[in-house]
Symmetry: C2
Subunit: 238 residues, 2 copies
């Protein structure tokens, strides 16, 4: 292979990684804005998030097509192959994070029409934690840092714990005042969406780890969302 | 390329497609059993679903490694490349459907300890619709049938409509009797999980369509889950 071809291949991989980083930046901004729109009751910002999701979707399409071209024309091997596939997979995860941010923003628009409730701050804190995880895993990707990826993977339990405690608070809130059920249902799904954002960060962490090391973090993801098995009896007031 | 090499490549692609079909069959069985465990209040079956999810996860790992080998050693082009990547992507979607079935089954175990409520039947109907979509899209994959894939993609709105109506029923139920809030929250998340299963079928439909035709169904998925923008006022009883 001629020298300039090799260089151009490296450049193509770098361009791919840079598109993924750009998409990561967009997803991060969307998530931050959707959480801010709840914490600061900023409906205009929520509407912006809803309108901007399309950009992320388009970027995913671009990355996928670019990666397919690299695969078809360059036929990469070993770490280059893993990098190309990582771009496709991470773009898929980021697209879902963008969708979740959009859904959070849609619900924020509805919430901001109602009187504020204190649980909004717990939700914002949980969102802040998910955002920190996303930043960290994007850094791990850019720096090809398997240790940081593993750290993100291990830390997901913290978001799950926040979710579990918020979930119980919300149930209590609804039982104390059934008129808040509609409102609390939106909170419940926002909390779930944030928890799922954390799961997607965990998925990205697995991809980064595999990309860098060629190994697998584990088949079982760390999972501490216990609400699926929460006994109903406990949640009743008496 | 020697004749036997070409044949062996075709065989490798066929083996990959057959693993995906096998994984599809497992995911279908898991979803069917999780829904049955609600409809028939069958806790033993729910526990089986929870225990069997690992098989799906392992199969995903196998498919991914096999596909990576095909990419590295065979360097497929055009439709062969799209098929190899489709295997990776569909396996990813099926893994998520398996996760959702597991989560539904976990919640079913809790529900089955409580007295039956009529909403369980609406939930089972919605689950049946999601299952039908999954069967259809797996057929589309096996038959390389872009038309059927497009049909699945267009039909997702039906599940979303069932979800919207069940969502409203559940809110009314909770408001009428706040002691059911814990129970109804499980129902709410099961319904959401089924709705998400439908979304994954839509994703698979997009992949199959792209695999067969090389084109894209659309950037925007059909989306009719309106509950994110449901005004809270409407849901109040007075």
């Amino acid at each position: 292979m001629a020298e300039h071809t090799v260089k151009s291949f490296t450049e193509q991989l770098e361009a791919l990684a840079s598109s993924v980083a750009q998409m990561g930046g967009l997803a991060e901004a969307q998530l931050a804005d959707s959480i801010d729109s709840i914490a600061k009751r900023d409906t205009a910002r929520a509407e912006q998030v809803v309108g901007s999701d399309r950009k992320i979707d388009e970027l995913q399409q671009v990355i996928e097509e670019h990666a397919l071209k690299v695969l078809a024309l360059r036929q990469p091997m070993a770490v280059d192959l893993r990098e190309t596939l990582a771009a496709i997979k991470i773009a898929g995860e980021l697209e879902r994070i963008g969708d979740l941010a959009k859904n959070i923003a849609k619900r924020a628009i509805v919430l901001n029409r109602e009187p504020p409730i204190r649980l909004a701050q717990s939700l914002a804190r949980m969102g802040g934690q998910a955002l920190a995880q996303l930043k960290l895993v994007l850094d791990a990707y850019s720096d090809r840092d398997a240790d940081t990826a593993e750290q993100v993977w291990k830390q997901d339990g913290e978001i799950d714990e926040m979710y579990n405690s918020l979930f119980r608070e919300l149930l209590t809130y609804m039982m104390e005042d059934p008129r808040t059920i509609g409102l609390c249902t939106h909170f419940l799904f926002i909390a779930k969406n944030i928890e799922r954002t954390g799961d997607h960060c965990t998925n990205i962490a697995e991809v980064v780890y595999h990309m860098v090391t060629g190994g697998h973090l584990a088949i079982d993801r760390p999972k501490s969302d216990l609400t699926a098995t929460t006994a109903i009896r406990i949640e009743k007031k008496d």
